[in-house]
Symmetry: C2
């Protein structure tokens, strides 16, 4: 028997606020950061699981400490048993009733559980010698269903419904896996649209994005409606009629304001409107969706767990399902959300950017394509060209498409030099030796 | 000008799990804990603000660290300015965009903001020489409205509606303040109903509670329906027909299970059913409410902010509004929630128990009575007879009623000997000197 001998954490922060990269109406000066975790064993294979929770700077130390608290649940345990039943392992990480009180299932304690389970997924995939998307896509429908905690979901999705959806996709998995290996998966870009950029930079970056082959561009909005109209007009002129232009308000509006503001922008033929109001406001999103019909509402990057996604979908407040690899409880909970979306016929278009979110979430979108929805129509993964150089196996986007990652693991391992150079504080270590 | 010179924190844990006090279906072994904060100034008056976030043990250190992160926003600032505009101070504590990402407005980072603003309220009330409920109840309607962040609320409650509700209560404030000073405020008790107790202990404690004058008793349920029926039958027999008996499922059920289970208990004439499912599931609570009509649904102790309360009320999933003093963003956000409840004609019946929650929340219920709803009919504060001896000005409940606290402050200051004896780790200190 081999056991988990150490859970190392690191507080990694990149000084991105200096360039206004990533600036939007709610987050004017993010310093993209990772509350990073490395899980080691005594199995002798020298493989480690790497993952992180994503934050935007201050408080990353709190997130690191939450990871350390949650990781106590697995330290010293039999690693083969943990990796063999990742559904039970997810429950283990989420079932300490004292830690649960800090959420429940939300905020730093839930993101911590997500980071730890994702590190275990990275380890499991490395052990299997497969990229995570391929590992997941080759599990049986029952094995996939076993990963999901159906508590609080059964009024919208039962285990047997999940198995049925997954089973339908089985016969054609192989051809989609092949298609991914040849063609990759669609990306869209938010790089041109940050609020801090000048009109000239916006126009230039839109033209570049189109030249690079991106099928959609997203602009940040919500600070000033006249600015938004001017910037959308520029983007529309550069991109041409019919080109998909989405906007992202980053939670800026109240419900009535959202309806007015979006209506004032509707002439620009919006592909979707993202995060129009509080990410907690299911009923608000549904009211906005009715008020601006047929414009589609996209949200999810701040929806904190499967219960929130369930409700957004039930209420008709989420037409585009924007999963995030590091907000909810990791791979397992995202699989539950992907299956919810599949049941209700909604597209998964993951949130990415930040640091490492593109690397992590590409596996989930590709798993969705191969093993769940079986369809990439209208689906795409956000892409922001930031900080990829810090990863051992960085995301590769070519002509507007994510290439299928082929390295074993979850692509969530940072380079040792990055961990050294961007450590905000000293590495902390918890070991079985105490 | 005097400034905030230090924010001290302490990790205080009581070993309550040893006695099964506080055991319920989701929280079998809580160690009631306080992530405690003390704010000091250089004003020379020797007054300090004391408050806490409540947790149930492990992870209390994470909560403490979150408080330290949020408190940086006020350290070194002009204390008179902070206390003079507590609405602006609340916004300051919640507006650091980097820290906000850790929620937003949920989990440990939001509870941390609540603890810090509550410590400032304690300081402000001590400076005024008034108990907090009286300080709040003597503010003008406009001053009270200034405390509230109406962002994300305006589709349910506008500032002018809030002022209107508050203004209606003004002429009769004096008589209600007097009534409180004479009669106190109704309490109900959960002490007899913990899951870990034997049938004999349940019967004995029910009889004692009635003898002590409590107008309502609450039982924990949700582990086994036959046990629940047996325990409810005992309680009903001891308490007699017509006596209000509420039950609390502590998030145990899925939506359909909740409807079945509650229906199986309906013959016991339930005063309310508390937390039937996930505290995030607004639509689920609404479906359960429809399914068990006319039995009332109570929830709120884990609803993480005003946006959640807004939706529960809009959807008809919350008939009894159970504010908690230490879950949302403190006094300010609870005032927003109290006004939402008033607009929709719903009673405030605060969650309490744990450690210090009775002490803290009594001020909010009494403020509601004097300055908002003007009505105590069907309203009562939970009471659990635990750990009050650790407070400088403990809650006093006599013949089933909370006596109005009269000591200046928010009743949230623990005794120095308790802070010394139950400190889980060393006191940490952050000061302006570095």
């Amino acid at each position: 028997m081999s056991v988990i001998t150490s859970v190392r954490t690191a507080d990694i922060r990149f000084p991105t606020s200096a360039d206004l990269d990533g600036s939007d109406a709610m987050n004017p000066d993010p310093d993209y950061s990772a509350a990073y975790v490395v899980i080691s064993t005594d199995s002798g294979d020298e493989l480690e699981g790497h993952a992180f929770a994503f934050t935007i700077g201050r408080g990353n130390d709190v997130q690191v400490m939450a990871i350390e608290a949650v990781a106590q649940c697995v330290l010293g345990r039999d690693v083969e048993a943990l990796l063999a039943d990742m559904g039970a392992t997810w429950s283990l990480l989420n079932s300490d009733s004292q830690l649960r009180w800090l959420g429940p299932e939300k905020g730093v304690i839930h993101m911590a559980a997500g980071a730890v389970i994702n590190a275990l997924w990275d380890l499991k995939a490395k052990r299997a010698g497969l990229p995570l998307w391929q590992l997941l896509s080759r599990l049986s429908p029952e094995e996939i269903a076993d990963l999901i905690d159906f508590r609080y979901l059964t009024d919208a999705l039962t285990r047997s419904e999940a198995v049925e959806i997954l089973t339908r996709a089985v016969p054609s998995r192989g051809q989609r896996e092949e298609a991914l290996l040849v063609d990759g998966y669609p990306a869209y870009t938010t790089s041109p649209g940050w609020l801090g950029y000048s009109d000239e930079k916006l126009a230039r970056l839109c033209a570049e994005a189109i030249a690079e082959g991106y099928p959609q561009i997203k602009l940040k909005v919500g600070s000033n409606v006249d600015d938004d109209r001017r910037r959308l007009a520029i983007a529309r002129e550069v991109c041409g009629d019919g080109f998909p232009l989405a906007i992202d308000a980053n939670q800026r509006w109240d419900v009535d304001t959202a309806i007015e503001w979006i209506t004032a922008l509707e002439e620009f033929d919006l592909a979707w409107v993202e995060e129009p109001t509080s990410p907690d406001d299911v009923l608000g999103h549904a009211a906005i969706a009715r008020g601006v019909h047929p414009i589609r509402i996209a949200t999810g990057e701040h929806a904190h767990n499967r219960v929130m996604f369930k409700q957004f979908i039930q209420a008709g407040g989420m037409h585009v399902v924007q999963i995030d690899a590091a907000r909810v409880g990791g791979v397992n909970e995202n699989i539950a959300i992907i299956l919810l979306a599949a049941k209700y016929g909604l597209p998964i278009c993951p949130h990415a950017g930040g640091v490492g979110l593109c690397e992590a979430v590409q596996h989930l979108a590709m798993f969705d394509f191969v093993a769940v929805s079986g369809d990439a129509t209208g689906r795409m993964i956000e892409y922001v060209d930031h900080l990829h150089e810090h990863f051992v196996s960085p995301t590769r986007v070519v002509r507007g498409r994510y290439l299928a990652p082929m390295s074993p693991g979850a692509s969530t391992e940072m380079r040792a030099s990055t961990l050294h150079q961007y450590a905000w504080r000293e590495l902390r270590v918890a070991t079985t030796e105490g």
